[in-house]
Structure formats: structure tokens, C-alpha cells
């Protein structure tokens, strides 16, 4: 048994939104922001590169993107140089894989960078590519690739089974957009009123425009290294990648693992595994970033993560428990709803916010935060990924 513990020591991102830039431009911007975050850190310190993206290869006739990026960033990897595609959880997957590589001793300093270039020269391809995000032969032809359809069905079922209201859905958007007003790199910096959310046009009822995260270009990067190396490179408080989980129980929608669409059995399992593997419980988590791709998602997620009883996610969020000062401050940088969701970059963006929270340098700081988690779902809710961060490694 080795005694290496992986830590996150630096992070940065480019401006998210509708960008006049290529994916390679944005990756460079994010890597620069990441290295600028820790003075003294240079490309020469980095021996491993993990690149997270689902669609950049589809945007052009380009495969094997990791060496392309390594070259542009001036990195010459000697331990790992690879791309990961886990759609919305690719960034978190990169962080978990980097942890494993560092703790095995194979890699010393890994740059995990994620990027998505969503906007194409012709806009039809954006919706069409989302079809590629689900099981091609069995779900894509049903037209359920564009995710609002799937999540609108989840919202209707959650309302039916638990009495969740339209206003409770809207509360998620109001709160997360509110947090996002403090984040200049997010897609939006706009405070929303309940009325604006309720009166916005439908995307797929009951979900309106502000219940859905925007389509965003963007890139984000972090550095994962050993505790020993972290002490050498940084004077900041150590933030450990304490553990995590990744659960996939199905792909085709017909094999949905829950009792109904508002019951996310696969996420419940991911949460159980993440807590067991880190020795923590929900009551020990001080701040989190969850996958608010839609307002309904965050409501189900606070339930399956164990912060309230099943079915109580609506009242829990609407009563302010996910704000700063609430039971579990959530999506403190604005979340997917306000910051945007460039798929492969999102888990990394969440990791940066958590690193800053645990180092005491977040913009909306949670006082004395010591343990935290991030969560992503992927595709049509077919995979759940949790990363647990802590100021202490697992004993």
C-alpha cells in the first residue's frame, strides 16, 4: 500500500459563453489561467496531460486530440497523454483518473483540461450533435437527444409523485443565477426574479428557458499532484482529492434503473459509494457543486445525495437551504445554469470552485469549509460521477 495522497493545487478557466474562439484557443486560455493561479508553476513541472471533451473531435476531422493540445500548451508528457469522453462528467473523470495516476506513483504532476466548442458555423449541428449524446440506435431516433425532453419528463414525474411545484423548480434558477452574478467568467451575470423564470417561454413544459442551462463554449484546467509535491509548489492550504465514485447501470432509456423517472437509483448508489469510500456523511459536507443542467436536476440531486428526504428536494431548495448560510451551500459560483455547461470542462470548473472554497479564497466563501463534493450526470442521465474533496486525506 503506497502512501501518496493526491491534491488539487491550481485551477483556471476561460470565459464561458458564445466564444469567438476555437477549442485550441480556449484550452490555451484555460491553461494559462490555471498556471497563473499558482506563481512559479510552469509547463515544465507537468508530466501528464488528461484532456476531457466529447464533441471537439466531432467538430472537425480530428481524432487523438491530446497530443495536439500538449503541443499547443508546451507540455511534453512522459506519464500520460490521453483524452477522456464521459460527456458531462469528463472533467470530473479526468480529476479522478489523475488522482489514481498520482497515487499509483505513475504520474507526478497532471494537467487536467476540459473543453467544449459547442457553437458551430451552422447552428443546426448543435441540436443534432446532442442526439449523439444518447444511445444512438435505440434512443436517438426517438428524438430524445436534446436533453430538455428527458428532464421535462423527469420534472413531470417528480411533480406527480412528490408534489413538487413549478415555483420550487424556478427557485433553483433564481438562487443559482444569483450566485452567478459574482462570477465574471460565467456565461451570465444576471440576477433573475421568480416572475422572470415563471414567465419565460417554454422549452419543454414544465421547463422554461431559465430552467435549462445554456449552450456554452468554454475550457477549464486544474493541476493534480501529490501532497509532497504540493507542499513544494504551493504555500496554500492542501486540498485532497479524497475519493469518489462513478456509476453506470444502463444506457438505453428502457432500462432506467429507478422505480419511476423521479427516482434516480443510480445516483443514490453513486452517493453511497462516494460516502463509504471517503468515510464522510452528508452532514460532514460543507459545500458542493451539483449538476444543475436543469432546475429539476438539482432538486433530485439534493435528495439522492442525502441532504433531505426523498421527495423533499423542492421545499428544501425553495426554503434557501442551498444558499450561503443554508444547510448545504450549493453551486456557489453559479452552477451550470448561470456559468454554462461546456460538457468536458464542467467538472473541472466545479473542482476549481471547490478548491477555492476549501482554501478560503472563494468569492462567495462558505466559512470554514473543510469537506466538499462535486457531482455530474452524463447524457440522458445514464451515469453519475461524484468527486469528494477534503482538507484532510482519508484516514
Amino acid at each position: 500500500m503506497n502512501n501518496i495522497n493526491a491534491t488539487i493545487i491550481a485551477g483556471g478557466m476561460c470565459k464561458f459563453g458564445v466564444r469567438q474562439a476555437s477549442y485550441l484557443d480556449m484550452v490555451q486560455e484555460a491553461a494559462k489561467d490555471c498556471l497563473d493561479d499558482l506563481p512559479g508553476l510552469t509547463p515544465k513541472h507537468i508530466d501528464g496531460l488528461l484532456f476531457s471533451s466529447t464533441f471537439v473531435g466531432r467538430r472537425s476531422c480530428q481524432a487523438n486530440t491530446a497530443p495536439v493540445i500538449a503541443e499547443r500548451l508546451g507540455i511534453k508528457p512522459t506519464s500520460i497523454c490521453a483524452r477522456l469522453d464521459v460527456l458531462c462528467a469528463g472533467g470530473s473523470t479526468g480529476i479522478l483518473v489523475a488522482k489514481a495516476l498520482v497515487e499509483s506513483g505513475m504520474a507526478k504532476v497532471v494537467l487536467v483540461v476540459g473543453c467544449e466548442k459547442v457553437y458551430t458555423p451552422e447552428l443546426w449541428q448543435i441540436q443534432y450533435d446532442e442526439i449523439a449524446a444518447i444511445d444512438h440506435d435505440w434512443d436517438a431516433p426517438a428524438g430524445i437527444g436534446p436533453p430538455p425532453i428527458w428532464f421535462a419528463a423527469i420534472a413531470k414525474e417528480h411533480m406527480k409523485h412528490y408534489g413538487t411545484t413549478r415555483e420550487q423548480l424556478a427557485a433553483v434558477s433564481v438562487i443559482n443565477y444569483g450566485h452567478g452574478t459574482t462570477n465574471p467568467k460565467g456565461h451570465f451575470q444576471k440576477a433573475l426574479t421568480m416572475q422572470e423564470v415563471l414567465e419565460a417561454r417554454d422549452v419543454a413544459a414544465p421547463l422554461g428557458l431559465y430552467d435549462c442551462c445554456p449552450l456554452s463554449d468554454g475550457a477549464a484546467a486544474v493541476i493534480i499532484t501529490s501532497e509532497e509535491k504540493a507542499k513544494e509548489l504551493s504555500d496554500r492550504p492542501l486540498v485532497y482529492i479524497r475519493g469518489g465514485s462513478q456509476v453506470s447501470l444502463h444506457s438505453v432509456s428502457a432500462n432506467w434503473p429507478g422505480e419511476h423517472l423521479g427516482d434516480w437509483a443510480h445516483m443514490k448508489l453513486a452517493a453511497k459509494k462516494a460516502y463509504e469510500s471517503t468515510g464522510l456523511k452528508p452532514s460532514g459536507i460543507d459545500v458542493m457543486q451539483v449538476h444543475d443542467c436543469f432546475s429539476i436536476s438539482q432538486i433530485v440531486e439534493v435528495e439522492e445525495l442525502g441532504f433531505c428526504d426523498k421527495g423533499e428536494g423542492g421545499p428544501f431548495v425553495a426554503s434557501g437551504e442551498t444558499k450561503i448560510g443554508g444547510k448545504i451551500p450549493t453551486n456557489t459560483d453559479g452552477g451550470l445554469l448561470s456559468v454554462g455547461h461546456p460538457f468536458g470542462a464542467t467538472g473541472i470548473r466545479q473542482g476549481i470552485e471547490i478548491m477555492k472554497q476549501l482554501q478560503g479564497r472563494a468569492v462567495l466563501q462558505v466559512k470554514d469549509a473543510a469537506n466538499a463534493l462535486t457531482h455530474n450526470l452524463s447524457g440522458a442521465n445514464v451515469e453519475h460521477t461524484i468527486v469528494v474533496y477534503s482538507k484532510e486525506p482519508k484516514k
Binding site: 435505440w138 426517438a142 436534446p146 430538455p148 417554454d202 413544459a205 432506467w256
Partner: protein, 165 residues
Amino acid sequence: MTENIGIPFLEGHYSPTLDLWPIEAKEFNRIHTFYDNLKEGKYTTTKCKGCGHISYPPRVICPECYSDDLEWIELPTRGKVITFVEKSIAIPIGFGEPLIDAWIDLGKDSPVRHVFSRVINCESGGIKEGDEVQLVVFDVPGHPIEWRKEKWIAERVYFAFEPVS
């Protein structure tokens, strides 16, 4: 510019990376029987002859016991709408409006209890929870195949559900 070098589809060439439909032809797909059965109005999947496990979608191995001795069985072609969604904006090219999808209960005796399917032949607002729907098979565009010096267009079908009138 005199030639479309580097953009084959401008000269009418097929690219599977932007094809929504399955490549169903037997030259490329060992479960082509599913689509052959669809053409006869049958909704089918595979059952393991060894352990009896029924899989959906169909397989070439049993995911429970890894036997490759499988047989085709029929699934119900009627179900009831549990919930449905109508997408209002940003509908993918080719789908047209309205784009309606439903979570359908195929019944407690069906080995595949639920499917999430498109509902076609249905007007906007034309469906509600509890409605009965039935399988409908339709033609979708074929694609070219080059195989052992021969070229042809592979015809294809797909399925959805429609209201029972």
C-alpha cells in the same frame, strides 16, 4: 473554388457520423433481424436459450450468462402513456413539429416494462396521460453500401408509437 476537396458530402457522399438512424444492414449489423421483424410489424428482442434472460435492446450475447445461443421473441406493440413531453423550441433538423415523446408502460406482463419513444401521427396537445398507444413502423432514408465491388442503397425502417384511434 473549382472542387470540393475535403468536404465529401458536398459531392453527395454519405457520412455515418451525422446519420441519426442505425446502420441496419446485415453486412454491418448482427441484430439486423430486429429490423427485418419490424418490417413485418413485429417488435422483438432476444432471449437466452440457456438461462432464459430477456434483453432489450437485442444482443448477440446474453448479458447475464454470456451464452451466445439466443432466440427472438415478440414484445407487446401496445402500451399506455405514463408521462409525455412536447418540445417547443430547438427541435433537431428533420424531426418537424410537434416533437412529442412519451414514457410508455408496455404492461406488467411484458419483459420490457417501459420504453421512452417518439409519438407520431399526433397533433400538438393530442395526447394525455393514460392514453393507449401502439407501435408504428415507417421508412427512413437508405444509405449507400460498398461491399465486395458492389454498390447499392440499403433500405431502412424505424419505429415509434402512435395514438390508438
